[in-house]
Structure formats: structure tokens, C-alpha cells
């Protein structure tokens, strides 16, 4: 992500207001684009379905289909996305660009077949028509591609191209919908088809961006696989992070406020809608991390590790360490302050908007929005803290953080949704996020308090390879 951050940082440094607005826009698109795009698809499709006269139940089912596909693909790809991203980073560092694109195909080959089987099993329980089942499956598989491509796109510095791909996706979906409606009327499947076309265009456009940037080579498609074993903790981290972020929504779908929209699809619209809006609260911290914290920090980080790896004396290493940590904690504080202000703004404005949209009469929706916004705000800050921990390769602490996050969310949400009053359903996620924030802060503090110990002393006493072994002293 540092690549994008540095490029966006240049825009931020330009003095014109429009450059800064563009930079903010681009960073938002890059870091949160795919998920926001998914939300946009859901709203576009359900809005048009309403316009074309589909019943409320059908609209809810459509919305659920897209949402389930997004969630399932996110969870599935989350199991390998971090190790794959690590592999790509290592390839870029070693200037082995030719290995990058093959690894994308390799990771698709690893994920898509089992994913297709699992999702098909789920879809068959709903007993939809062949066309609807196939379109759902295609949607799921395309979303898997998109999530995997996101890691690669973060290295591609063509943020205009990335934004263009989203615009093309939405545009293609909309045009497809209009065309299909002309020929087939308000048939159920045309809405799914428009999503498939839209996402399909995005996948193709993303491939073209990736091919433009990286050299292609047909060899080594599965060269990344050892990373899954070597960095198994990253797989767990990705999975647990997704569980923590979204499991409360899944639990809501099977709770007392869930609605059976058809087949095996359950939703809880009164919970989903505020959750999606609340998720937008994470954008501020994520954008700040990418554009400011990661770039300024990365320079100091490189300086510190450069000092350690070169023949720098201790006083110099210490100085670089203190500079790095000063920048890091200052940026964390700044991000936290921004997040608090944004959260306050979102809460005040968002509640009003909900009321204007007609949701305000339902107290529980307002309380969901408040608790989920608070929860996602804390999640965003905690996520930033864990990203810094990942910079120091402190995967063990991050695994603990994300385990507590996932466990905290699941346990507290399950308990509240089973025994608690309806209006407190969002509190489970809020509590989980709070513990996530607390633990990630403590772990980062502890780790950085004794950095040379963590970086040098804790590593195993290295094994000398035979060809490097010094000659045994000759004996007379």
C-alpha cells in the first residue's frame, strides 16, 4: 500500500484545493473502493428493481444475494490474501516482477474451485432456477477475483485507472440493466445479470491495469504457495479480521430481527443498512494511514532498519528508533483525533439523515447506527495499530489482537442477540471493537518499548550453513 500512499502524498503536497480533493477522492476509492462499490451495486439494483415494480420481498432477496456473495467472497479470499500480498511485496522488493502475475492466477486457481463448490452447495439449498443459481455463482466467483486483485492493484499506481474501473463497472451494470429490461421486462435474473456484467467489466479492466504494470511470465503460478505455510499466521489474521468485522452481520441474519427473503437467504435490513453506513466511518483512518501515516512513517522506518542493517553505531540506531516511534505515535494520535471528530460528525449528521429517510422512527435502527459507528470507528483505529504491528512483523501480537476481536464480537453479539433487548444488538460489535482497540494498543506499546530486543534478540540463534562455516582451528 506504500506505493499508492507515496503517489497520493505528492498530490496532497500540491497547493491547489482541487488537487487535495482529488487526492482524498483517489485514496478513498483505492482503499475502500471494492466494498463501497458493492454497497453501491446493492443500492443501484434494489432502487431500479423498485422502479421496475419488483415486490419488496424480491428486492430484499436481490439485496441479500449480492450481500451474501460479497460477504462469502470476502471471507474466503481473506484466508489467503495477506500471505499473497506478502509474497507480492517480497517479489517487488527482490525486483522479481515477472513472478507477480502468475501468483494472481495461482491464487485464483487455489481459491475458485473450492469456493465454487462450497457456494454452490449453499445455493442449491435455496432451490432457485438454474439461471439464478448460475448467476449467483458467477457473482460470487467474480467477487473473489476482485478481492484478490485488490492486493495487486494497491501496487499499481494508476489510481485514475482504478477509479475508472469502478465507474465502468457501475456504468456497465446500469446499461446492461436498461438493455435487458427492454427485451425481457422486469425478469428477476436481469438484475443479477447486470451485477455480473458490471463486476465482470471491473475484473477485466483490473487485469489490464495489472498487466500494464507488471511483466508477465507464464512460469511460477504457484510459487506463492510456500508462503501459505510460512506465513500461516497471516492467513489466520486475514480470516479473523473478516470474522470480527462482519460476523455480527451474519449473526443478525439469524437473529430475532432476521427476515427470510427466500431460499437459504436471510437478512436483517434494519441492521444491514446502518452497518453498511457505519462501515464508512473506517474510511477516514484508512485514508489517513495510507496517505500520511504510512508514508511519513515508512521513511523513518526505512531509516531505522537501514541503520540496523548497516554498520551504524548504537547511538545512531537509537536516534533513528526514537524518530520513527515519535512519528508513529504522533500519527496514531492524529488519526485517532480525526476519527473521533469524524465519528461525532457522522453520528450527528447520520442520525438526522436516517430520520429524514424514514428510519428514524425506529429507535433500534438509530441505536444500531450509533453503536456500529462507534464500533467501526474503534475498529478503524485498532486496525491501524495492527497494521503498524505488521510493519514490525509482529504477527504473533496481531494474531492475538484479531483473535480477541473476532472472539469478542462473536461472543458478545451472540449473547446480546440471544438474550438482550433488540435495541442493543449493535453493542456486541462495539464491545468486540473496544477490546480490539485496547489489546492492539497494549501490544504495540509493549513491542515498541524494547524494539532491538524484539527485532534482534528474539530471533533464533542462526544456523551456519556448511559452506560458510569457519575452518576449525588447526591442531598440532
Amino acid at each position: 500500500m506504500a506505493g499508492i500512499g507515496f503517489e497520493l502524498n505528492k498530490l496532497f503536497k500540491e497547493k491547489s484545493f482541487s488537487a487535495k480533493v482529488r487526492a482524498l477522492g483517489y485514496s478513498g476509492i483505492v482503499v475502500a473502493g471494492p466494498l463501497v462499490l458493492g454497497i453501491a451495486f446493492v443500492f443501484m439494483v434494489t432502487f431500479m428493481a423498485g422502479k421496475y415494480g419488483l415486490s419488496l420481498t424480491d428486492r430484499m432477496l436481490l439485496s441479500a444475494m449480492i450481500t451474501y456473495a460479497i460477504m462469502a467472497s470476502l471471507f474466503l479470499t481473506g484466508t489467503i490474501s495477506l500471505p499473497v500480498t506478502r509474497y507480492v511485496s517480497d517479489c517487488l522488493y527482490k525486483e522479481e516482477d515477472e513472478n507477480v502475475i502468475p501468483s494472481l492466477y495461482g491464487s485464483l486457481a487455489v481459491i475458485l474451485p473450492p469456493g465454487a463448490v462450497l457456494y454452490l452447495i449453499f445455493l442449491l439449498q435455496s432451490k432457485f432456477s438454474f439461471t439464478v443459481t448460475l448467476l449467483n455463482l458467477m457473482l460470487f466467483l467474480l467477487l473473489c477475483c476482485i478481492w484478490l486483485q485488490t492486493g495487486y492493484l494497491s501496487a499499481v499506481k494508476d489510481y485514475r485507472g482504478i477509479m475508472l474501473s469502478y465507474v465502468i463497472a457501475i456504468g456497465a451494470a446500469f446499461l446492461t440493466l436498461l438493455l435487458l429490461h427492454l427485451f425481457f421486462g422486469a425478469a428477476y435474473w436481469i438484475f443479477l445479470m447486470s451485477c455480473v456484467v458490471g463486476y465482470g467489466c471491473q475484473v477485466l479492466f483490473a487485469f489490464s491495469l495489472i498487466y500494464d504494470f507488471f511483466d508477465s511470465d507464464e512460469k511460477g503460478a504457484f510459487a506463492f504457495l510456500p508462503y501459505l505455510k510460512k506465513y500461516f499466521s497471516l492467513s489466520l489474521i486475514g480470516t479473523l479480521s473478516n470474522i470480527g468485522s462482519f460476523s455480527h452481520i451474519l449473526l443478525a441474519w439469524r437473529s430475532r430481527i432476521s427476515v427470510h427473503v427466500g431460499g437459504a437467504f436471510y437478512t436483517s435490513p434494519y441492521y444491514d443498512v446502518p452497518a453498511f453506513y457505519a462501515y464508512l466511518a473506517t474510511l477516514v483512518t484508512t485514508i489517513f494511514f495510507v496517505t500520511r501515516a504510512e508514508t511519513a512513517f515508512f521513511e523513518k522506518y526505512s531509516a531505522y532498519f537501514g541503520a540496523l542493517n548497516s554498520a551504524a553505531p548504537y547511538y545512531f540506531v537509537k536516534e533513528k528508533r526514537e524518530q520513527m516511534l515519535t512519528v508513529m505515535w504522533a500519527d496514531i494520535l492524529q488519526a485517532a483525533v480525526l476519527q473521533v471528530l469524524t465519528t461525532a460528525g457522522m453520528l450527528s449528521i447520520g442520525v438526522i439523515l436516517f430520520e429524514r429517510a424514514g428510519f428514524g422512527i425506529l429507535v433500534q435502527i438509530r441505536s444500531y447506527f450509533i453503536s456500529l459507528t462507534l464500533g467501526y470507528s474503534m475498529y478503524a483505529t485498532a486496525n491501524m495499530l495492527t497494521l503498524f504491528s505488521m510493519y514490525f512483523a509482529d504477527y504473533k501480537s496481531v494474531l492475538i489482537d484479531d483473535s480477541i476481536f473476532a472472539g469478542g464480537v462473536i461472543v458478545s453479539t451472540a449473547l446480546i442477540m440471544t438474550y438482550g433487548p433488540l435495541r442493543l444488538f449493535g453493542l456486541g460489535f462495539c464491545l468486540g471493537a473496544f477490546f480490539y482497540l485496547l489489546v492492539s494498543y497494549i501490544n504495540l506499546r509493549v513491542y515498541t518499548a524494547n524494539l532491538e530486543y524484539e527485532v534482534l534478540a528474539k530471533k533464533p540463534l542462526c544456523r551456519i550453513r556448511k559452506e560458510e562455516a569457519p575452518a576449525c582451528p588447526e591442531k598440532t
Binding site: N309, P313, Y315, N450, E452, K458, R463, K475, T476
Partner: protein, 467 residues
């Protein structure tokens, strides 16, 4: 009485002077029980003894310096030291004179393996303190890794188990000396030291010549080995060497003079003295009873012999030893082929050396470093003079020490100087009378001063005195 002998990288894994001496000593004292504490470089050598251990060797303990490399990282090891112990450990990390008694106690009472200290916060704090206060300009991470590799075997040995014995006898300083100090401290039993070569001097020369140690750290490594020597010098009740100049070096580098003593090597004189004079056959046969190892500088020997054959074609060279360093041995054989030498015989290790000496006129030794080479003494006992390089005790053996009027038993040449060695060889080749006379001088010298029973008796008395 049980004596524990402590070896590093020699007996019973390798043939050689120290190993022969040890094997002969143990065999010659069948009424004394021996335990062996053995330190080797690589664990793949475990149990691979080239000697059949005598029956009075009761037990062996083996430690290998590459074993701690496999230590898995302990999860957050915790070490607790008093301020005095911390100060002594700091001195040890700086390779200065330190109180090993305190250090040994400090590590032996910890619940984590001592080598895990190098992965602990406590070590990091000490190390960073040293870098801040004392080694302000030294590269931080390079020094960290150097310190770890230096201290790893030391700490590994700190918690070593020791066999029970009445006395612990180190056959070198270095890691063997350290292990002996530890054993003596833990058991409260006396410790002895015998040096065949001066270990710390040899390491110093190697460090200076080496290309695998960065120039910034050579001094540190040299200080490290002197620190290990100092540890046993200060604690041994008796420190022996093989010859007077070695004893003087020991005193120069810190061994208390009142504890130093010379006990020369001894050989089985009657066995070797049975070798009869060689029957003249028109050739001069030159023997080298050495193993193929770089320290023996056989390549220079081959170059010198090549020069000899240019003016004395009827010379033959017999290199009589095993391939200790297979790669080096192959290089020597290739050199012989490259120089077109047809009169170089390499039959390997000879079991009946006295019989083989009957085929030889004189012997040659071109080592880069020696103590008191048994091969020269055996050659003298067999009545064969020698050409030897001026290392270790060789000059004293060839020309005799103070009070020894037997006369010269050969020639001394400059090490690594093929031309000088060749000239000295030619002096003997061209003078059969000198070969006979010098050979007789050597025989008398070996008979009077270097007989094994005398050596064994001296060690027996030493053990009885100490125990």
C-alpha cells in the same frame, strides 16, 4: 584415583601428536581410571573415535560446539542476576578478565538454558549498555551477531554435566580450559593444565591471517581467547608445557610462574631404536610421518623435494600419514602430478613405523606450527636425523637445550621457505657421514631426555601430588 582429561578437537577423534600422547599416557597408567570430557566442532563426529579407548577409560562425555545452533528460541527467557554478577558478565562480554566463579554460579542456577540468555531482554540491556558506554562507535548489529556467536559455545558449556573425578586435567586452554574451570568450580576438585602448543597464541596467529573475521573484530576475538586462557591459568594448581620456551610464553601471558612446570614428551624408545641402518641402495629416502593437513604444509615439502630432485635425482620422498583433510590431500597429490615427480610415495598411515624407518635415511617436518613433535623424537630414536622448520620446540630438539651436548641432529629451516628447506635437505643428501653422525646424536638425545616411562612417571607424580 580417577582423572578426567578434557580435550578439544583432538583425542580420540583425530590422529596426531596430542592424540598419540594422550593415548599413550592413558594406556601407560592402567591403574588410574580416566574419564574423558570431549569437545568437538561438529556433532556428526559423535562417537566417531579413531582410537580404541583403553580399558581404564570409564566414561566419555561429548559436547559439540555446533549443538547450541539448533537451540529453539525460548519463549521470553528470564534471567536474574545480582549487580555483581551483571558486572562480571559485562566484563566477559567485553572479553576482559572476569570472575568466572560468579558467572558460573549465576548461570547454573537459572531455570532457562544458559544459551537462551543471548535471546533475552537481560542480554539485550547489557549489550546495549556496553554499546552505549564502551563501544560507542562499533557497528551495532554486527557487534550483536559477533557477540552472540562468540558467547554461544561459552554459555552452552556453562551448564555442562561433568563426570565425577578427583582431578580435571585440561589438555589445552580455550573451550577445554573453560570446561575444566567449570568442572573444577562445580565439584571443588583441583584442575591441571597441559599445553602442547600455546592455544591462545595459535588462535591469535590464525585470527590475524584469517579472512572470515572482519578486521574490526579480530582484536576482540584474540582478547576472547586470551580471556579463556587467563581463566584456567589463574585456577590451575599446576600448568605444564612440553619445553622451556613454551613455559616462558605461558608465564608471559599470565600463568603464575610458581605453578609452571616442563614435562617433555616421551616416546617408546626401545620400540623405535630397533630400527636398523638402511642398506645402501643408491637412493636417499626421505620420510615425513605426518598427516595430510594444512598445518603440516605438505605442499611446501613437495616444492622443496622438487628442488632437491633437480640436483639430486636419486632422492625419494615418503609421505606417511592419513588424509585428515581429504581436499588438501587431493591437492597435494595433484601437485605431485603437476610437478612430474615420480619418486614421491604416499602409502598412507603406517602401523609399523620402526620397520618403515629402516627404509629411510632421514626425515623431514615442514609444519607451520608445532609443539614438541613426537615424529621427530621417534625419528631420532630410530637413528634418523631430521630437517625441521623452526617452529615450536624443533630447534631445541635438533640442536639440544642447555646442558645437552650431544650435538646437532639435523638442520633447521625457515617455515614456508621451500628453497631453504631444499638446501638443508641437500646438505644431508650429499653427506652420508652427516646422516649417520647426526642420526646418532639424535638417538642419544631421545634416549636420555625423551623416554615415555620418564614422562608417564612425571604425570603419575603430578596426579598423586595434586589429588
Amino acid at each position: 584415583m580417577r582423572i578426567c582429561l578434557v580435550f578439544e578437537g583432538s583425542y580420540p577423534y583425530l590422529f596426531g601428536g596430542v592424540s598419540s600422547w594422550a593415548h599413550q599416557l592413558i594406556s601407560a597408567l592402567p591403574d588410574i581410571e580416566f574419564s574423558l570430557l570431549l569437545i568437538g566442532p561438529k556433532k556428526e563426529k559423535r562417537g566417531q573415535f579413531v582410537y580404541e579407548l583403553p580399558a581404564n577409560v570409564i566414561e566419555t562425555y561429548e559436547y559439540f560446539l555446533d549443538e547450541p545452533l539448533d537451540t529453539k528460541p525460548s519463549s521470553r527467557p528470564r534471567f536474574s542476576f545480582s549487580p555483581e554478577e551483571t558486572e562480571e558478565i559485562r566484563k566477559m562480554l567485553l572479553c576482559r578478565d572476569c570472575n568466572f566463579d560468579l558467572i558460573i554460579n549465576a548461570f547454573r542456577r537459572q531455570k532457562y538454558p544458559a544459551e537462551a540468555f543471548l535471546q533475552s531482554r537481560e542480554f539485550m540491556a547489557m549489550f546495549s549498555g556496553i554499546m552505549q558506554d564502551t563501544l560507542r562507535l562499533a557497528p551495532y548489529s554486527d557487534t550483536f551477531y559477533m557477540e552472540r556467536s562468540m558467547m554461544l559455545p561459552v554459555l552452552y558449556l556453562m551448564q555442562a554435566k561433568n563426570p565425577k573425578a578427583d582431578c580435571y586435567h585440561a589438555i589445552s586452554t580455550g573451550y577445554a580450559g573453560l570446561l575444566t574451570v567449570i568442572a573444577g568450580h562445580v565439584t571443588g576438585k583441583p584442575i591441571l593444565l597441559t599445553e602442547h602448543g600455546i592455544y591462545s597464541r595459535e588462535r591469535e596467529e590464525e585470527m590475524i591471517r584469517s579472512d572470515w573475521v572482519s578486521a574490526d573484530y579480530k582484536k576482540h576475538w584474540i582478547d576472547f581467547f586470551y580471556m579463556l586462557s587467563g581463566a584456567i591459568y589463574q585456577r590451575a594448581v599446576k600448568i605444564t608445557s612440553l619445553f622451556a620456551s613454551a613455559s616462558q610464553i605461558q608465564k608471559d601471558i599470565g600463568a603464575p610462574a610458581d605453578r609452571c612446570e616442563v614435562i617433555s614428551n616421551g616416546i617408546d624408545f626401545p620400540k623405535f631404536s630397533t630400527a636398523r641402518a638402511k642398506k645402501p641402495d643408491g637412493f636417499i629416502d626421505i620420510g615425513a610421518a605426518v598427516r595430510f593437513a594444512k598445518i603440516k604444509d605438505i605442499k611446501t615439502m613437495i616444492y622443496a623435494f622438487y628442488e632437491v630432485t633437480q640436483s639430486f635425482p636419486n632422492a625419494r620422498l615418503h609421505i606417511l600419514g592419513p588424509d585428515e583433510d581429504k581436499k588438501y590431500a587431493d591437492e597435494c597429490r595433484e601437485l605431485v602430478r603437476y610437478l612430474g615427480l615420480t619418486n614421491v610415495l604416499m602409502p598412507g598411515r603406517i602401523s609399523d613405523m620402526p620397520a618403515y624407518y629402516e627404509k629411510l635415511d632421514f626425515t623431514i617436518l615442514t609444519s607451520l606450527s608445532e609443539g614438541q613433535p613426537l615424529t621427530l623424537l621417534e625419528s631420532f630414536a630410530a637413528g634418523r636425523p631430521a630437517v625441521a622448520t623452526d617452529v615450536g620446540c624443533c630447534r631445541e630438539l635438533i640442536f639440544g637445550s642447555k646442558g645437552d651436548d650431544f650435538g646437532m641432529a639435523g638442520y633447521i629451516a625457515h617455515p614456508m621457505d621451500a628453497h631453504d628447506i631444499a638446501e638443508k635437505m641437500l646438505l644431508l643428501c650429499n653427506s652420508p657421514e652427516d646422516i649417520k653422525a647426526f642420526g646418532e646424536n639424535g638417538r642419544k638425545r631421545a634416549e636420555k631426555y625423551y623416554q615415555r616411562p620418564d614422562m608417564v612417571e612425571k604425570y603419575r607424580k603430578l596426579y598423586e601430588e595434586v589429588v
